[in-house]
Every structure is written in structure tokens, then in C-alpha cells.
Symmetry: D2
Subunit: 259 residues, 4 copies
């Protein structure tokens, strides 16, 4: 037993009279002072956000809350239909689908930017970095993450708005610059319009906020949990999951019934 590793957390602890979160007294320092977005920032960075960082972080998180009747929202609603007594499990079911195809793409974009620019204070040749990045994805016949959108054409309106908020608050730094160069280079190489989408903008801004790319997906997960609770509330009041299921089942098995 001598080779035991120690077990340690620095996130939060309680005594009979106090609760401490990331070194702050919950009742004295946090409640009434920090918003939900601010404490999310604290969880992710171990720092309190400045006022301007708070505006920027909240903007990217808010962008991710609600995308309408997504596969994830449908999964949550279907789950609620079967287990209305366990709403938390319905939210959980919805979150399970935030993988590589949807929310996970932010992670890929943030990784691309942070690996290309590990030290944001260093002078670099942005054009060269962008060329290298695009050449690599193109060489692997992969799509460059963070650009293009199937619906939002000619451009995703969230990207310029998020960049505007970042600029107004002093976060118009090298990751955003690199993301823009990447998009421009990709349009030349792939030969089509590929403006930065919400994913790319969020990945770049999260990098400006010094969120490590490995946790960027987490911003989407926490934000979407909020949106999924909203979907479950609507499902409580105006249920649609059963009707969606009934129609799908009827059509999907019609060819079998004829036999």
C-alpha cells in the first residue's frame, strides 16, 4: 500500500458554516455577485472574469444554448416521454449526442488554432500558418473545421456578431486573426465560399479567453444543458415526442405490414 497515490481536489469543500468554491466563499464572495456565466468561467479557468471577459464568454456560451429541434433535443424529449419522473436523465440523454458531429467540431477548431499557435504572445507569420493548416486538412481530404455552413448562407450571422463583441471588449487577438486567415486560404484552396461559422468563431474566441482546447466542448455541453431543460418544459406542456415517434414508426414499418 506504500505506492498509493494521493486523492486531491481543489474545486470545492464545505465546513458546517461555510462553502468554498475555487477559493471563494460562496455566501460572501459569490452569491449575489457572480452570474451563472461568471461561475462557469471560473470553473473553466480558475479565474474570475473581468467585466469585458465576462461579456465575451457569456456571448459564446449563450450562442450554444439553443439550436431548436436538434437530434439532441429530440433524444431528450423521447426520453422524457418514457421517464417523466427522471428529467435529469432526459437532459443526460440529450447531452450524450454532443459528440464529434455537432458540438465536438468546436474542439477540433480550437485544437487547430491552439496547436498552430501555442504561445499567443509570440510573433508568427499568420499567412504561413494558415497555409500550413489548410494544406494539411486538404491533404487528408478533410474539411477544415469552423468554416462553411449547410444552412447559413452566404454567411453564418453569429460569426461576425461574436467577433464584433470580442473586438469591442479587447479580445480581437491572434487566434481570431488566424481563424480569419484560415477561412480565406481555405476558400482559395477548396474553391468555394467558406466563411467562418459559429463553431469557428467560438473556437477562436475561446482561445483568446485562454480556454484549453480540450475543454472547449464543455462550453457547449453546459450551455446545451440549459437549452434541453427548456425543451423538456415545452414537452411537458405541448408534447410532440409521441407524435414524432408514431409517424416515424408507421412509415418505417409500412413495407413490412403489406407483406
Amino acid at each position: 500500500m506504500s505506492n498509493r497515490k494521493s486523492i486531491r481536489t481543489d474545486i470545492a469543500w464545505s465546513t458546517p458554516s461555510t462553502i468554498t468554491v475555487k477559493g471563494f466563499d460562496l455566501c460572501k464572495d459569490i452569491l449575489g455577485t457572480l452570474s451563472l456565466g461568471d461561475i462557469a468561467f471560473l470553473e473553466l479557468t480558475d479565474r474570475l472574469p473581468t467585466t469585458r471577459a465576462s461579456v465575451v464568454f457569456n456571448a459564446i456560451a449563450v450562442t450554444l444554448v439553443e439550436h431548436g429541434l436538434t437530434p439532441s433535443a429530440i433524444a431528450a424529449r423521447m426520453t422524457y416521454t418514457g421517464a417523466p419522473e427522471a428529467m435529469q436523465a432526459a437532459v443526460a440523454a440529450g447531452l450524450c449526442g454532443l459528440g464529434s458531429v455537432f458540438v465536438g467540431s468546436m474542439e477540433t477548431a480550437a485544437r487547430m488554432l491552439q496547436e498552430a499557435l501555442p504561445d499567443s504572445s509570440k510573433k508568427v507569420d499568420f499567412d504561413q500558418l494558415a497555409r500550413d493548416i489548410v494544406a494539411r486538412f486538404h491533404g487528408h481530404k478533410q474539411a477544415v473545421p469552423g468554416i462553411g455552413h449547410p444552412l447559413h448562407k452566404p454567411e453564418d450571422p453569429r460569426a461576425p456578431r461574436l467577433f464584433q463583441i470580442a473586438a469591442e471588449n479587447g479580445f480581437d487577438g491572434p487566434y481570431i486573426k488566424l481563424m480569419k486567415r484560415v477561412a480565406k486560404e481555405a476558400e482559395a484552396v477548396y474553391g468555394k465560399s467558406l466563411p467562418i461559422n459559429a463553431t469557428g468563431a467560438i473556437a477562436a474566441i475561446a482561445s483568446e479567453l485562454k480556454l484549453p482546447w480540450k475543454i472547449v466542448r464543455g462550453v457547449g455541453v453546459m450551455a446545451r444543458a440549459i437549452g434541453l431543460v427548456g425543451h423538456i418544459l415545452e414537452e411537458m406542456r405541448e408534447p410532440i415526442a409521441r407524435e414524432i415517434k408514431t409517424r416515424a414508426e408507421e412509415e418505417a414499418t409500412a413495407h413490412l405490414r403489406k407483406a
Copy 2:
């Protein structure tokens, strides 16, 4: 097929150039203006919060973000250990345990208050309501929800702080009054100190904010999703799940190895 029910959602939708959430234009009305807590309030109430409602709602949500190394946090960390490529599933695993024992108790407390006082503008005899409520739980040999705490003694410091924030912002209304009477009556009937805990305070304040009791658990679910991302980030950097598992497994099977 004539008896088809229609399928309808009013939460969000997109066109090529716009995203609309609860009737607001995401890019023009929401981003840069609403915080994460505010959009959570919008999801739950279909209203934008006033400045004062925003402070109060954020306070109850923030209270629920982080409770340290809970069973839920351990479940998330264990899951991350096995599937680091699917962080969303680790958060989901953590949320699955937010049931009747922990976060669900807020729902029970909010239901108790809202069923006793379905119309908060009506004049009622609070003492009589409190007596009826306590008598009912006592008669069923159940604990009254929202009062007492195993660790926080003599009182849960979050409850007075949350009530203070509510009062400062004009939300010191009938549900808080009723919750306080219930605690006082319960102390008399059960014959022990039973001060209002965080759960009871949140249930009362959520009722003041007009959140239906059926969705009150959802505030805990969305808040805890934020905290769980924080735990996963710490687990990435300073892993403890495997060591917790190794120790538990060794002790738990020691009697079998001797045989």
C-alpha cells in the same frame, strides 16, 4: 392518417440569415446583451428577467453549480476515465444521479409550496397552511422537504444569504413567508432544530420567480452541468478516478482473495 396531431415548437428556429430564440433575434437582441443566466431564465419562463429578477435567479442557479466531490462528480470522473473522447457522456453520467435524493428534493419542496399556495396574490392564513403541510408529512412519517441539513449546523449559510438577496431585490413574497412558517412549525412538531436549507430557500425563491415546480429540478440540472465540466477539467489535469477505483476495489474484494 386524418387523426394526426400537429408537431409544433416555439423555442427556436433558423433561416439562412437569422436565428430566433423565444422570439428574439439571437444576433441582434441576445448576444452581447443577455448573460447565460438570463437566457436560462428565458428558457424557463418565456420572459426576459428584469435586472432584479436576474440577480435573484442567477443567485439560486449559482448555488447549485458546485457541491464538490459528490457522487455525481465521481460518476462523471469515472466515466471520463473510460471514455475521454466523449466528455459529453461523462457530464451526462454525472447528471443521471440528480434524482430524488439530491437535486430532486428542491422539486418536492417547490411542489409543497406551490400546491399549498396556487395563487400567490390571494390572501391566506400562512400559519394554518404551515400547520396543514407539516401535519401531512408528519402523518406520513416523512421528512418535510427543504429543512434540516446533515452537515450545515446550526444552519445552512446559503439560506439566509439567498433570502437576503431575494429581499434586496423585491422578491420577499408569500412563498418565502410560507417556507419560513413551515420550518418553524416543523421544529415544534418534530421537536428538533430544522432550519431552512439551501434546497428550501431555492424552492421558495424559484416559486417567487414563478417557475413551475415541475421544472425546478431543471435549474439544478443545468447548473450542475457547469460544475461537472469543471470536475472533468480537473480530472484531465490531476486524475483521481482510477486511484479511487483501485482503493475501493482492493478493499471490497480483500475478503475474497483470502479464501
Copy 3:
């Protein structure tokens, strides 16, 4: 630290050269000898099934594997669409909905039978027990669990088949007898045809097999996990989740687009 409780499991453990499950040597006693259904029985009862118990247990488990395009299957498929790299999370999402509405009803039926008849060897008045049970549910304006079916009319074909298998294997005991009396009594009291459904048959047979009612839902959970893997395999090959989502989203937001 003196009040530490010990941590103990008796399910399984390993040494460098052996794996032991419920006291049996995995390689010598189990592999090649026990089927998947048999080891499930062992997990639930700490006993190896007799040949006849194995047939009966496998029959109820098999009944629960596959119910077609259920809400649960749709949740799993939606999840797979977003996170194809985490199939386990798609199965998990599907399982989350096996709550009170669908699979959980078996638990309610098994509880009803086992609480009415805690000692199956004791002589009882079955007619009186059935009258008491039905009167209680009727008094609470609740449906009696395990009887009636929205689709399978005039009767659920699984129930007589399962009872036949139970009888052929010597498991036609008091719980099945009680379930049948309950259905008959309920038809008289509720004034409509209420034949035993699959849920009721499984609850009664599980009780004959001495499965505690608290774990009966678990038979459904383990069985459905098998079926959900089947749905994910079909979704890999012939995806339908996106189309289901696209149609639902288009119709559900059509009224908003007109505005």
C-alpha cells in the same frame, strides 16, 4: 475515522491467473457452459438456473429485447447521429427513457404481486387478495398494472405464450394465479376487457423465479440494451434519424417561418 464502514463486493474479482464471478471460475465453470441469459440469471439471483428456470427466464428476457421503433430506439439513433464515435452513449441515451411509462410498469406489477403475497408457500385466499388489490387501485383512480394494451387486442399474444412456457417448465405458481385473478376482477370492476399484457405476465413469472420486484425493471434494461445495439447497427447502415429530425423540425417551426 473510527466510524468507517467497510466496503465490500461479492460479485467478481481477479487474480493474475483467474477471474471469479459470483464464486464461479470464469474460465473453468462459466465460459462454454453458461449462456448470456444464464449469467444474467446468476447476476440477479446468485444462483445458477436449472435447465427449466433457464428456459423460462430467457423467455421473459427475450420478450423485452426488441419493441421496434420506440421512443427509446429513436433517442439512441438521434444520439448516434451526433456522436458516432461513442456508441455506448447512444445505448445509454436509449436506456435513460426506460422509466415509469414503459419498462417501469413491470416493476409496479411485480411489486403489487409480491407485496400481496410475500411468502409464496403460504396458503392464501386468492380471490380476496385480487379483490383487495383491484379495490385499492380503483379507489386511487389508478390503472391496475399488467393488464390491458392499447394495440394488442383482444389480447396481448405474449402473455398466454409466456404462461405456457412457464407451465411447461413447472413455474405455474401462485403469482401467476394471482395475476390472473387480478385481471378477472379488474375486468368486472372497471367494466371492460383487460386481459393480462406482456408486462403483467413477465412480472408474475419473474416473481415465480424469485426475482425481487425492485430489480425486475433491470431485466428490461439489460434486454433492451441488446435491442438498442441492433438499432444502432441498422442506423449505421440505413440511417433514418436525420430524416426524422428534419421532418419534425420543418413542421414544428413552419408556423414561425410564416410570421
Copy 4:
């Protein structure tokens, strides 16, 4: 709407008097005839297993049911502690961790074998294939999947037993041969003992049974769902999750309490 894709499933459907699963009548053809393992085989292959294939498939599935107090089992138990009314969500939480680190490694091994040998009837140079495979993993500084084990030394007892069962039932084919050559070649290249482990044996045998590698992880997911129900049953009777949590929390925050 003319570009609608059709929605179709061929797994199961019901009429008022029949339930059909994969083309078989549930009541007439399946119940009392097929075991749980057999219907799992049917779900994965669209074929009924021969008697010998059934023995082999059940053996690999049974191997995966129970691995003791794993991170996955602890996640399920922690979840049950908070939401005992939603056992299905506890199993789901446990499954969420069956990712790349544990069960997912079977998928990697099966992919390695099936991509090297897409047509098992074709004549190939097994030694050359093994050399190519090992050189590729070695070149990427990756571990070869399916060989070596941290605990089971000098060899994993499950591998020879599973290969014996496969051989006795006529499934000692080219994928097993290739897996063995890979292990031998890897021992030479990596310069250490690297016998085939359970993962490697299962991957090879699943390939002999013609399970596509993309679904091989699913065998682990369905099997482990069975084991997790067993852990929840033990947790109901002899709870350990809270004690594991209490100890971990106390040690993990001890350094903070001193401050």
C-alpha cells in the same frame, strides 16, 4: 418536399395479434426457442446462430458481462445513490464510460483484423500481414490492440479458453490465426511478453462470427448492461457508494480544511 428520403426499419413491428422481430414471429418462433444470447446474435447478424455459433457467441458475450468493481460499476452505483427511482439511468451512466480505454479496444482490434483481411476466404500470407500490422502500430508509437495485460500475467486465462471453445465449435479460422501471428510478431518487435488478452481473443472470434468491427463494441455494451444491473442489485442490498464517496471527499479536501 419532393426530396424527402424514406424512413424504414426492418427490425421489428407489431399488429394487434402479432409481434415480428427480424422476420420471425416472436410468440411462435422465438419465445421458448431462442435464448437471450441467440437473439443478441440475431440482432447483430440478421441470422439465427447455429448451435455451435451460439456456443461461441455466448462465450464471448459472457466474458464481457462482469469485470468486478470497475469505474463503470462505480459510476452506476454512484448514480443509483442519487436517483434510486431511476435504475435505468444508473445503468446508462455506467455504460457511458465504455469508451476507447476499456471496451472500445475490442473495436480497434477487430478493425485491425478485418481491415487486414477483408475477405476471409482469400489466401493470404499471414506472416506478412502480421509484420505489416505491427510495423504500422510500432511506427506510430502505439500499442498493438488485443495483446498484453496489466494484471493477467504471464497470460490472460480467458484468451486460450475462448480460442479452445472456438476451435471445438469449428471457428478456428483466419482471424484467430492472424491475431496469433500479430501477438508473436509484436513480442519480437516490442521486445517483451505480449500474449493475446481477452480483448484480442474476442475481436478475433467476433470476426470469425462475421460481426462487422463497427458493432463489436456493442457486444461489450450489451453484456455490461447485464453486469451493471447486478451491481445495482448489490448496491441496493449492501450499499458502498456513499462510503467510497465520503472517504474520497475527505481525503481529497483535507489539504483545504487545514488552511
